[in-house]
Symmetry: C2
Subunit: 424 residues, 2 copies
Amino acid sequence: MSNEADEVERRRKLEEALEVKALRRIINAYLNYPEASEEDVKRNERSFKKLPQTHKAILSHLPSKFQKLRWCIAQNSYFIFEMLKAFEPPIDLSLNTDICEDQHHQDNSSTSGDILDSQESLETIPREHGNDNFGAFYKISSSSSEWLNPSSQSHVPLVDVDKVRCIIRNIVRDWAAEGQKERDQCYKPILEELERLFPNRRKESPPTCLVPGAGLGRLALEISCLGFSSQGNEFSYYMMICSSFILNITQAAGEWTIYPWIHSNCNSLADNDQLRPISIPDVHPASAGITEGFSMCGGDFVEVYGDPSQEGSWDAVVTCFFLDTAHNIVEYIDVISKILKDNGVWINLGPLLYHFADMYSLEDEMSIELSLEDVKKVAFHYGFELEKESTIETTYTTNPRAMMQHYHLNANCVEVDGMKFSLS
Amino acid sequence: MSNEADEVERRRKLEEALEVKALRRIINAYLNYPEASEEDVKRNERSFKKLPQTHKAILSHLPSKFQKLRWCIAQNSYFIFEMLKAFEPPIDLSLNTDICEDQHHQDNSSTSGDILDSQESLETIPREHGNDNFGAFYKISSSSSEWLNPSSQSHVPLVDVDKVRCIIRNIVRDWAAEGQKERDQCYKPILEELERLFPNRRKESPPTCLVPGAGLGRLALEISCLGFSSQGNEFSYYMMICSSFILNITQAAGEWTIYPWIHSNCNSLADNDQLRPISIPDVHPASAGITEGFSMCGGDFVEVYGDPSQEGSWDAVVTCFFLDTAHNIVEYIDVISKILKDNGVWINLGPLLYHFADMYSLEDEMSIELSLEDVKKVAFHYGFELEKESTIETTYTTNPRAMMQHYHLNANCVEVDGMKFSLS
């Protein structure tokens, strides 16, 4: 018996330590932003240096472009550091995480791989945190801000560098005027459908709506402003750190200026397009007119909402570019069907670009990759009735002034502009 | 003096050995196709096995899908092996390549990296081969076909597995009825422009047209059929092995059936879409009505056409999805300007998705990444005048029945539907 209790305690400590390690890694990636970006400018400069003199003469304006890139990087870095300074870690980051290494040696004695390579499990927030009202996300605050010290940075893998840049592009999608077109393509049809389906929304008892995969929180906020008690759920700390800053800390529309397009020289029409500034946020969230009960909840969707306490809790579930993040999409649909009230509504929009489809290095990552036809079949099995379905064309975090656009056609399945399911 | 001659001879042998090694690696990747594909099906099966019993019951049709995938893989493998059997290596593949290892130790004594990791240099054809007429590409034939023995396969990196699948998708783009839409978007405006610019094409002395980055050769063939003495240039052996087979060996339209879409479960509307067969070629090349002088030339564009003998040789140069393959795009434009006759025409269409932009692992890879504005500036410098420019929407090797499409907007620069340059 005592042995069993020891084992439970050991497991709990290990989970805690893994979480600390995961969050440290993400903060490191943010802290590393200036260095990683400078490294790219240096690569540009090295390539330029290799040009023969005649070619250099034709492209004599490039060195001044490189200096402008540096200036933009400094502005972005300023934004990122202010964001990190405002972040209150929900766990004690000074915790000793040696137990992870011990565990690692215990579990992987036969291989030489580092547990840190398993990026996906480290990006997530293993347990539920801050399931609290808007304005007070994180309850457990670290006593010191030592974790903000850049000197404590360790090596940052390229995959993490990319994730920080992905967040910067996501800020445009959710919180800039330039993202309006994408939001009109994806969020607007969802909002219109919610409005149609819940015509009598009363302030005293607003209908409840859950948004799994809430990203930087704009859709959840818009749903709140529409008169719903809305909760966003997000598993990535990268996203949560940024959404917390924008939702809770920003003081006014247009308070910040970032340069989101500097990280790629590809498909650019002109250097000035690449270097153009973006004002954020386009609206001040705290003044947007939210409905009581708006919150963001960190954690894995299945872990948090698979809990029996969640059953029959929601009038609506909205999934937008979320379903394909599943290891097992059947489990997602199963959970959605359980947490909806009778006659609840599920609205889904997004591609089926399964996130774990090409994770060749991770032998043990489960990935169930169904066609749209089969996704619907699974939904029917769980008692959903398909009420509407339509095809939309949309982009995702695309630079609107670039020469290449990735369109998701028929991006919705089962959803929007009416395509939605209801529990029968 | 003797020492210098030794060094020249050593360098020549090294180059030859590197080329043999590169070609062996590509043949290995093709030979490995069945194994790599089977591995993917097994991953699907392992994921399915991990499902709880209730989920398995809902998806009980999946095991039969996995068997169908295996059948499709066998059909694709048959096509690939017939293609390899028909291939006559332009170099002696039985050559001892130990000199590469010696060189490697000499050049990289301070690092532990393997020269094989530098994939780009190994995919290319270092020197010019088979600059000969259609129907007799490769002149140097290997004495035995020992290189076709699958047992001589070594480990095949994922990047090579992907390249083989990329070729399979390219077959649809160039040689299947399903690729007609993409060809109409990209090739048709080029062909119409050539027709307009060269109205008096005479059989006795047809205008000459070079197509760098010719891929699987369809555009070069169409230009030939239009009454030009057309030459395709391609640097990748992956492409050359396949184009040689289709252009020289196929006997009739629809002779082969392949299953190009089986390698991704993502964004599929229904399993049957993923499993559908494609007939190739849609036309029998030898009966298509080519003009005397049609040829395909293997080798690096700058190495082959930067040769002084090429100066002022071509009436037209057509680059379609090619410019962004450059380490130094200025060099490409420089060479194009030199090989054109006075008043020659350059027609360009394609994105600026620079191939070496994200090659982080290759510290020494030069990558000059210009905006469209700067590309035009460089062209003006080399004496080009921009005659037409327009924006088209097109896809590249996209499954037309998938939920996601990558569009290249403004894919042309300086080209087509008129957008073309002329040397002034």
